[in-house]
């Protein structure tokens, strides 16, 4: 008795995007050995062979979706190298099957499960979000995932749980960018508990109606749309509820430039990049930059989380 339309993953993918994907796989084939390619083709993009049916996003807004090709070929994912094309070129080396994710720390009952079980436990849904990178570019991405709050409720955080720490994977043999110590691996991020419980915060397992590609953080990644992209940690293995504010990887690397909150804020400039405007990926060569919005345009939903806080100091 729900009027939310249930659709299958094949229905949501427009044909030209589907074709893009075929081309994408074909292009990857040039890089991969034939045996690796057949593995890849059999398992789709990750441990999940396909997504269960999900609720379509009702909120497309005025934003034009960024193409799958751009979303999957222009990534910051230093585990695979520092160039934007490295994740696309090298992420296939990562084995994501088997993969388990544990939720532990200050919880009544800790949980360890794989992504297959997770999507059986909690219904997945589509969320179309703007993603704003701290470097001054942005995309519009149709994620598929679960609200993080649904998962956290399952473990019942105790009174000591004030923050949530997320830990990614350290496996230099497959994440070849980790052969370089430029960041303190594994990548670590954190949210305040109320940020983690916010309905906009999701764990994504899919993209464009299909299983999440590895370069985008398969098998499971965080998406916090009102914060700069680096907060949305990829390839999560651990979620830990803690009492003290976690120190994220980028805070360790450069605490003057990257703070704990990292909320999108056009009024707080970054020493390297202007945060007043942004370039939307996929627009024509002649398209102008667009104005960056407070909290990446999610001000109505999230501003109350930061009431009374000095956002210049808590950047």
């Amino acid at each position: 008795m729900t009027n939310i339309k249930k659709i299958t993953s094949s229905e949501i993918t427009p044909e030209h995007i589907y074709n893009d994907r075929r081309n994408f796989i074909k292009n990857l084939g040039l890089i991969l050995s034939s045996s690796a390619l057949s593995t890849f083709a059999n398992t789709g993009f990750g441990a999940l062979s396909s997504l269960p049916s999900f609720t379509e996003s009702k909120d497309h807004g005025n934003d034009k979706l960024t193409s799958l090709k751009d979303i999957t070929s222009y990534n910051n994912y230093y585990e695979f190298g520092t160039s934007k094309s490295d994740p696309h070129d090298h992420a296939d080396l990562l084995k994501i099957d088997p993969w388990s994710i544990s939720i532990e720390g200050s919880v009544a009952k800790s949980l360890k499960l794989d992504v297959d079980d997770l999507v059986k436990l909690i219904p997945i849904e589509e969320r179309i979000y703007r993603l704003r990178c701290v470097e001054g570019w942005s995309m519009v991405i149709p994620w598929v995932g679960i609200p993080l709050s649904s998962l956290l409720k399952k473990v019942s955080p105790t009174g000591n749980a004030k923050y949530v720490e997320f830990v990614s994977l350290k496996r230099p043999s497959e994440m070849i960018g980790q052969k370089d110590d430029m960041l303190d691996w594994p990548y670590t991020e954190g949210l305040r508990l109320d940020e983690a419980m916010h309905p906009l915060t999701i764990l994504a397992v899919g993209l464009y109606g299909k299983v999440l590609p590895k370069q985008n953080g398969a098998p499971i990644r965080l998406v916090v749309p009102w914060k700069y992209g680096f907060k949305s940690i990829k390839a999560i293995t651990k979620i830990r509820l803690v009492e003290k504010m976690p120190v994220s990887t980028w805070m360790k690397a450069n605490s003057k430039e990257y703070g704990f909150y990292a909320n999108v804020n056009p009024e707080v400039d970054h020493p390297r990049w202007s945060q007043a405007t942004e370039r939307r990926i996929g627009e024509s060569l002649l398209a102008p930059r667009i104005k960056t919005e407070m909290f990446n345009g999610y001000q109505k939903e999230v501003a109350h989380l930061y009431q009374g806080m000095d956002l210049k100091r808590n950047f």
């Binding site: 430029m182 690397a253 390297r272 930059r289």
Partner: protein, 195 residues
């Protein structure tokens, strides 16, 4: 010999147009990637640094090889530095910022990597307009003094790249190393006249 030099100069001129040709191929093949403006900006930025290194190589090459002709190509290479730096700047002002002067001003004063890049271009300007034979004759010793600015420009240009990069300094440090070597080779201890 004279014929040869003219021929070589023409060849260098044509080869120096490669960055324009290669970006045209990228554009024509629609191969600029997800962020085409960044791609074009970086392309011309990189070639500006390469031509800067080439320009600075002519004097050491003359001494090391004992062939004086190298110096004949220095001016043209230097003008290509200005040419590609100007295209790089124009891409930033026009393509990237659509001539939004207030945004551009804020970007320059708030971000040190933009500031040093802009300074480097400003300093190139007087060198470019005093590059003719007539100006060389008119400025006499001052011409040489003025054109020593290229050393400062090289340092600012490399800093521009170093400060832009978030974490992986490999590429900017390669340019830093090359520029350092080219500047060190100019120190007196390497320059004692052989008798």
């Amino acid at each position: 010999m004279k014929f040869n030099q003219t021929y070589i100069k023409r060849l260098i001129f044509i080869l120096s147009l490669w960055p324009l040709l290669s970006i045209s191929i990228y554009i024509f093949q629609d191969n600029l990637g997800a962020n085409p403006i960044e791609f074009i900006e970086r392309h011309f930025g990189k070639w500006t640094l390469i031509f800067l290194c080439l320009t600075l190589s002519m004097t050491p090459l003359r001494r090391i090889t004992n062939i004086s002709e190298w110096i004949l190509y220095r001016r043209m290479l230097g003008l290509f530095v200005f040419f590609y730096a100007s295209i790089h700047l124009l891409c930033y002002i026009g393509l990237d910022y659509h001539f939004a002067w207030i945004d551009i001003k804020n970007d320059i004063i708030k971000h040190r990597y933009v500031l040093v890049g802009f300074l480097a271009w400003l300093l190139l300007f007087p060198l470019a307009i005093t590059s003719s034979d007539k100006m060389i004759r008119r400025l006499k010793v001052n011409w040489k003094r003025l054109h020593r600015l290229i050393y400062a420009i090289a340092i600012l240009g490399v800093l521009h790249f170093v400060w832009l990069v978030k974490k992986d300094l490999t590429e900017p440090l390669i340019y830093a190393a090359i520029v350092s070597i080219l500047l060190i080779l100019r120190l007196d201890i390497f320059n004692r006249k052989k008798n």
